[in-house]
Symmetry: C2
């Protein structure tokens, strides 16, 4: 394989034209779309409209006139086809963390209704994305160990832990460090056999991994708007609730936007029917509008095609990297079998931070993840095969020439 082969793949790539939807800085290969997706032209245009014409000219009347009030549902409805859900099973609001709190609460309320005397357990994985664990920990501390307990196990021990019939299984499909993928369908089926409800965090999946939540009978899910969905920094997250669980749903973050008739200003809470009851306070319309506009780029693509390209991009990168003997100094922590991983690759190296800085200097943007992980995301909407080939070659050269040992790459920033 060579750069020419990669360029041939680009020439045949049906998704190649999508690149022009985005405004990417020149001379940069952006392998960080799994951390923060880039801005699209549609987002820029929408924000200008929302700020100048909607907020600016029509002010408060925009809630009606420009349908701001419907935006959380409308944006959720655009995410639905990406995850195999119906449009009225998804709503955009709050952060992943806050949404997880709601869904854990809902799953617990359903359990306690059926088994009022049975203490509940939440099972999760030790290397789940930390905020998921923090929220579960906060939830159990609030309710007390007499009512609910959090148990975390290694990936290896998951199956046997599920056999112990926990109440709620809380997992992230794609491991944020390694990219290793859980089989949602099989795990959900097994959990259901144990009378265990499942909550899937799809933050590192949505927009790039084919998902069939309804067909897989998933109970609850959350996901992130600012990674592969390109909704902008801190974009609102989404909640999915299987339609069969929307009736009598109970969750404590019951703000006025989840009320059946918020503008009646009634003193008592009456949950809206359907997925809208997952809303809480007033949605951040600027950030929500950006996400809504970003989702336009998914209108005429299939997630299956995106997934195939993402894996192809990462394989081209690995081939390019492998052409250098120096690549052996990196340890791939992701599954080598592409079908077992998401749209990302992780490598461990004691100088991973310095390597990521050296790559940045050469125009290749990657993530460093503490303590020693170099992480690369392969967003199929805007990356080309040739870019991934060049990124692999650049990394190979940095390793060969030990460029990362230069002093200027060793100073850590506060956030990485």
């Amino acid at each position: 394989m060579s750069l020419a082969t990669a360029q041939q793949l680009d020439a045949q790539d049906a998704l190649a034209s999508k690149r022009q939807l985005f405004d990417l800085p020149a001379g940069s290969i952006y392998l960080n779309g799994n951390s923060l997706g880039p801005v699209s032209k549609a987002v820029k245009q929408r924000l200008q409209t929302v700020v100048d014409l909607q907020w600016g000219d029509d002010l408060i009347s925009s809630w009606n006139k420009h349908h701001w009030i419907d935006l959380p549902g409308k944006t959720g409805g655009k995410i639905a086809p990406l995850i195999g859900a119906e449009v009225d099973e998804v709503v955009c609001c709050d952060s992943v963390s806050v949404n997880l709190f709601k869904l854990i609460s809902a799953a617990l309320a359903r359990h306690e209704l059926r088994f009022p005397d049975n203490k509940a357990t939440i099972l999760s994985q030790q290397d789940n994305f930390p905020t998921d664990l923090y929220i579960a920990e906060g939830f159990t501390q609030l309710l007390g160990s007499a009512r609910v307990e959090l148990i975390t196990v290694t990936e290896q021990d998951l199956e046997s832990a599920i056999s112990n019939k926990p109440t709620i299984l809380l997992l992230t499909q794609v491991n944020f460090r390694t990219g290793a993928v859980h089989d949602i369908e099989a795990i959900t089926r097994f959990a259901h056999q144990q009378n265990c409800a499942v909550i899937w965090d799809l933050s590192h999946s949505v927009g790039v991994l084919p998902l069939e939540l309804d067909a897989w009978q998933v109970d609850y899910a959350v996901g992130c708007g600012y990674k592969y969905l390109n909704g902008g920094p801190g974009a609102p997250a989404f909640s999915y609730v299987n339609k069969s669980l929307l009736d009598k749903l109970q969750q404590p973050l019951q703000g006025w936007m989840g009320h059946k008739a918020p503008f009646d200003f009634a003193a008592d809470y009456q949950a809206d029917t359907g997925i809208n009851q997952l809303q809480c306070g007033t949605a951040p319309i600027l950030s929500m509008s950006a996400l809504d506009a970003a989702l336009e780029s998914f209108a005429d693509v299939t997630v299956a095609d995106l997934y195939e390209k993402a894996l192809g991009l990462s394989e081209v990168f690995l081939e390019s990297l492998a052409s250098s003997g120096a690549a052996d100094s990196l340890q791939l922590i992701s599954p080598r079998d592409a079908s077992k991983r998401g749209a990302q690759l992780g490598f461990s190296h004691k100088d991973a931070y310095a390597i990521s800085r050296a790559l940045a200097e050469q125009g290749v943007q990657t993530d460093f993840r503490s303590p020693d992980i170099l992480r690369l995301g392969f967003s199929p909407l805007f990356l080309s095969y040739a870019e991934c080939w060049r990124a692999g070659a650049t990394l190979a050269r940095i390793l060969e020439e030990k460029l990362y040992l230069e002093q200027r790459f060793s100073i850590r920033n506060k956030v990485t």
Copy 2:
């Protein structure tokens, strides 16, 4: 009094030049700044910078390079002087509803630490802003009536109810319908004498009512970013926690952004020291940047001056309205004594909705609040005395000529 008198007041108004900071639609008198503040030029410019240069060009590195990571604290720090707090007592994040949940939790945790066997009570007012009641209701339902109960009373019964020593007092300073103002200092002092913690909702106060939270020894407070602060639709809210309560604070919405070292990705939650531990998930940077930029307009004004002008504007409006006999068909539900109300006026009238539509047609933007309230906000940063005189005269004419009875004003929109 006359239009000329109002124009004279404008000529002497030290705040008059602030109007030019905003981009308001021509020919409109905007008495809705207490619902949604208007966009300022600074916000437009900031959003362009954030979208084009930060997100667009610097992508993920903007978290460091452009200090996105510090924005919730920085924006909170700009609100601090408006409420008589220190900069490290205020953080911007989430919605008012979500922040209330955190603070109620924190107040309860502190109570249970001291009195593990005492059931807690949350006392609020029946006509508090509904989302505050909904959140308190959701919280008590989650924890169960054996641990905590919500009691709501009328304004008249508040004092005697506080005498009964509730655990937490949850009040909004300015009544959203009538504009009636609670004396935070006196009520907080009385509550503390009963060993009761106070949580104040400042949504309809911040940016226009002089507040001295530290001096008044307030425990906790929340407030809204999109009313008098002009932060944009659904702008992030803020939380205030008195410094004396920040140590050992416990709240369950403990997302990764409230962690001491989020980018260590540790499995266990360790709360950050200080106010930052109130953060939960990733902040919506576009909406947060708009709020941060909007706060620039407060840099060189005092809230005392804003308050004085706001009351003056509302008095000019009342004088103008009173010049018509037809005004008697409206019932003022706000305190007639300006010192007893916030920067708003409410009137009840059985055709309040149609009146608000008729006003809108004449270029006067007001709020209708179900079932029969016409509500007007007097934002001192951008309104002139002459506008308020004209608005009063317009309303008088609509009442005199019964213009609101015309068919086209009677059709209700979904949201108002």
